[in-house]
Amino acid sequence: MVYQFDFSFLAQTWPAFLGGAWLTMKLTVVSIALGFMVGTLCAVLRVYAHPFVGWLVGAYVEIIRNTPLLVQIFIVYFGMASLGLKLGAETSAVMALVINVGAYTTEIVRAGIESIPRTQVEAGDCLGLSRLQVVGHVVLLPAVERVYPALTSQFVLLMLASSITSQISAEELTAVANVIQSDTYRSFEVYVVVAVVYLFLSFLYRLGFWGLGLALFARRRRLGTAL
């Protein structure tokens, strides 16, 4: 039997693919933004707060980084519901993704913070900046700038991993593909199309983060490199 490739289902289903891709983008952009905040906060706590708080943050990071996202999603969606906290599929998806990417961000930003020389902090103190100003302007901004490439690749990986949320019926790109392939019996073609869409999305995200980096880090714009 010679298989005939047939992509004609696209003529009717492309709006569904587009809708799925749009939801994937919405879910992941929100998760990345929230996850970045969670991660940065945790990184600051881990370095500057009381050792016990630091230990708690460390435990959070290790637990999340050493268990699969799929199981984390199940715990948030099915587990929380059984404890009485019923969340919608999309809310659970965002929550699980935020918890996940927050842990990775913590570890990456912490590395950035630790790479800032002590003398910078001392110089900031000498200039009479408050503790908060030192942490914000002298430590965090340059720290994030240094680890920005690692952060962006983690965020792109998160976007790809968001395909797993299809398993709790969040109607994002992969879930849409699953529905279409069971309607059309064109599973090979459907998943090839979706793979291409994800590929496009990951290029789009990388481009977006590159632009964002130029906008955020004035020094990089002028010198072309991180400090």
């Binding site: 699969p68 199981v71 059984s82 790809l160 090839v192 590929l199």
Partner: protein, 215 residues
């Protein structure tokens, strides 16, 4: 409703051995593919470089889940009906190969330039350079990140549950379907994954520290 008992715990632990087996399969396959890709990336042939780079971009730019669906559902429509473990092993191999290839390329390139020049001066050919000079040093550099990536592989095998292969995550779902205590069951599952991954993470960090001290 069935009570969660030690029988379920043993069932989960039994399933965990399948997770380990699948991880080993993926690592073995990924290592072969990875070293091939890494050598292609640093080869002097432009075509090989481009092909390997394109493959890595392609695999790293698509979710593992889609790769899994392609090799399980996609290929079965094309007439190749694969057993879930074969489909999962294959897609994990393709996935791990791309990442290991990129990691190991970095390690090969981290060997100082002077080592290449010195071995050139000693009259070693390209093959001898790799075998006697470059790869032994690159291997040392490569061990910590490789152990770190093994954590990634173990976690990724959880996706095989989605195509119906009964490893730890799928076993968790099965147990949950009969006991209906999702929070407890999936926390147990997570704990077992943690018990497998955390030692790997720790040893990766330890090896990295030791490597930096030796330098």
């Amino acid at each position: 409703m069935v009570q969660f008992t030690s029988v379920h715990v043993f069932y989960l632990l039994d399933a965990a051995t399948w997770t380990i087996l699948l991880s080993l399969l993926a690592f073995a396959g990924g290592a072969v593919l990875g070293i091939t890709l890494a050598l292609a990336r640093v080869s002097r042939l432009r075509v090989l470089q481009l092909l390997a780079a394109a493959y890595i971009q392609l695999v790293q730019g698509t979710p593992l889940l889609i790769l899994l669906f392609l090799s399980y559902f996609g290929l079965s429509i094309l007439g190749y009906r694969l057993h879930p473990v074969v489909a999962a092993g294959m897609s994990l191999t393709l996935y791990a190969g791309a990442f290991l290839g990129e990691i190991w390329r970095g390690c090969i390139q981290a060997v100082p330039r002077t080592q290449w020049e010195t071995s050139d001066c000693l009259g070693l050919n390209r093959f001898q350079q790799y075998v006697y000079v470059i790869l032994p040093q690159a291997t040392r550099i490569a061990i910590p990140p490789t152990v770190g990536f093994m954590v990634q592989i173990v976690k990724s095998t959880s996706l095989a549950s989605i195509i119906g292969f009964v490893e730890l995550s799928r076993a968790g779902q099965i147990v949950n379907n009969s006991t209906f205590e999702p929070f407890f069951v999936f926390t147990c599952v997570a704990a077992i994954y943690f018990a497998m991954c955390y030692p790997l993470s720790l040893s990766s960090r330890y090896l990295e520290r030791r490597l930096n001290v030796a330098r």
